[in-house]
């Protein structure tokens, strides 16, 4: 306000009582209560949330609560190998006598790491490119989208397989490969979303008041893209864990003694069916974790995506 004087109708505040937090944020509070209400109503969403919370707790404190924490770092006990589940070994033991329960629980942390890194890299790269492609248009969009389509034209797992095969097996390469094939999904999502938001009047309105492009991207487009991104990220946490486990199963993922579930199944599958517990529990752990993230994402979609909202 340098060049122009204040408007003459600058009436003093009639009510000087400062508003309480509750009053100021009544809108948000109502919104969150509505979300919570809708979420609670759905059994599957709550199931998903519980599974995810359980998973996060295990990832946080797993090593502290398991009976044989050394099992995760490759301790062997050949005299106790391939024991069926019992009160000593809740999930039985593996071919080296390590406690499967301990390994499965501690594996949560590995999986969390895998999920967060893959989803994180993919989301950061994908959102950035997507928002630029969608907003800028022209040749920038053409280039970004061509490359994206190229990646999307090859099923991710096949491409990741090729990459890991080339880079060599191992969890880092596996995570890297999956991150490389994962970002295009975000580009497409964010680009489409940006394209539609770009047409909204409030973007034109922001331009008409002289907002620069970064401002518009950050304050207007990104917040409005967030709902589907959050939903996708929640689901992708699960899918990334699943894909890493799949590569682990083929023998290209995490390597022993790292307690990664997919790698455990990869070994355990040769012990089917007589030592069923060996593959059952890591498999169930993957299944429940991925299920949890997907149910959560699905529940989030229901409450965040106005299309499926009733009121």
């Amino acid at each position: 306000m340098t060049a122009h004087p204040m408007t003459p109708i600058d009436t003093p505040m009639e009510d000087t009582r400062p508003l309480t937090f509750r009053e100021r944020h009544a809108s948000q509070i109502r919104q969150w209560r509505l979300y919570a209400h809708m979420f609670r109503k759905s059994f599957s969403s709550m199931l998903g949330l519980s599974l995810v919370v359980l998973f996060l707790i295990l990832a946080a404190i797993g090593p502290l609560i398991v009976p044989y924490p050394e099992a995760a770092s490759g301790a062997i006990n050949m005299s106790a190998k391939l024991q069926p589940p019992s009160s000593t070994y809740w999930f039985g033991t593996d071919e080296m006598g390590a406690d499967i329960f301990s390994r499965v629980i501690i594996g949560a942390r590995t999986s969390l790491w895998i999920g967060v890194v893959i989803t994180g890299i993919a989301a950061i790269v994908g959102i950035t490119l997507g928002i630029i492609a969608g907003y800028r248009g022209g040749w920038v969009r053409a280039v970004i989208m061509r490359v994206t389509e190229l990646f999307l034209a090859v099923p991710g797992l096949a491409l990741a397989l090729a990459i890991v095969a080339a880079l060599g097996p191992g969890i880092t390469n596996c995570v890297l490969a999956l991150a490389i094939v994962w970002w295009p999904g975000y580009v497409r999502l964010v680009e489409a979303k940006t394209l539609s938001i770009k047409e909204e009047l409030f973007i034109e309105s922001a331009r008409s008041i002289g907002a620069k492009t970064p401002w518009i991207l950050w304050h207007h487009i990104l917040p409005n893209c967030m709902s589907p991104i959050i939903v996708k990220m929640s689901m992708d946490m699960g899918m990334a864990i699943l894909s890493a486990a799949s590569l682990g199963f083929i023998g290209l993922g995490a390597q022993p003694p790292s307690p990664e579930w997919g790698a455990m199944i990869s070994v355990a599958r040769t012990y089917m069916p007589d030592w069923w517990w060996y593959s059952l529990f890591p498999g169930a752990a993957i299944f429940l974790t991925v299920l949890g993230f997907n149910l959560l994402g699905d529940g989030l979609r229901d409450i965040l995506d106005p299309r499926s909202r009733d009121r």
């Binding site: 599958r269 089917m272 299920l291």
Partner: protein
Amino acid sequence: MLTFAFRKLLTLVGTMIGIAALTFLITNVAPGDPARLVAGPNATEDMVATIRTEYGLDKSLPEQFIVYMGELVRGDLGTSIVTTRPVLEEVMRYAPATLELVFVAMFLGIVIGVPLGMLSAVYKDGPLDQVTRIFSISGVAIPAFWFGILLQLLFSVDLEWLPVSGRLPLVTRPPEFVTGLLLVDSLIAGNFSTFWTSLQHIILPAIVLSFPCLASILRVNRAEMIEVLQSDYIVAARAHGISSFRIIALYALKNAMLPTLAMIGLRFGWMLGSTVLVETVFDWPGIGLYAVSSALSSDFKPVVGVTLMIGFFFIVANTLVDLAYAWIDPRLRKA
């Protein structure tokens, strides 16, 4: 129309070349030396060098790339160093098995996914909806390899209802080659027992492969049905006295099928990618298995070839979806 087809074709060729370049570069940055593998464990350096020269592996990477792209333009996918056969020939041999599996899986996915999606949309938030929701998300969440092994154990080992793996029993000679799809070929040949056994063989891998696909078809169909059922023209149809069944099964379904079709196209490609897992578990001699075994022996020409092939099928599938779109949606017919 002709220019449209031409443009489509041009994009297809461009994408294929792009995929080839992408995969070739990705697979060749690594230090792997397939020549050493095929030369055998005791081979001397000069023997390995013989093989390198034979396959052009002694050239620099850019040179190899140029040679490869040159061959590719002429429709040559190169030669597998492990099997010494042209990749194209091998991929063509394995492709029917994969396609057969994917078609059956897709068929299962559609015939189960679409009606279930419809039902859970109609009974939204009811018990059926909750059950199908957990069922469908389980489908996406379940590790295919694990699920496959469980099914094998249950149906093949325990119950002995279905064969463990493969496409046909050992002594059964495959029917005369027409399409390469055993189910079709055996019917053409009128050989029912072969048809039946190949159906028995395909059912488990197809179920495993279709499960995630079924799930997402179900989800999309449900979501779209819900949206369509709330749309104005459905309200209008109700107001005009058209029966609920007709509204749901004809009017709404046709509208909801559009995004479902897109999902089917997408899932088709995804399925092709997943064959690397399912074919490994079930010993299904398709391109997925071929890709895995080649990748594990650092034999990259086949990996690139399979990736290209999958990309090709994927693009073809999506083009078909586009056509189906135009067929269903009159608004797209004139552009």
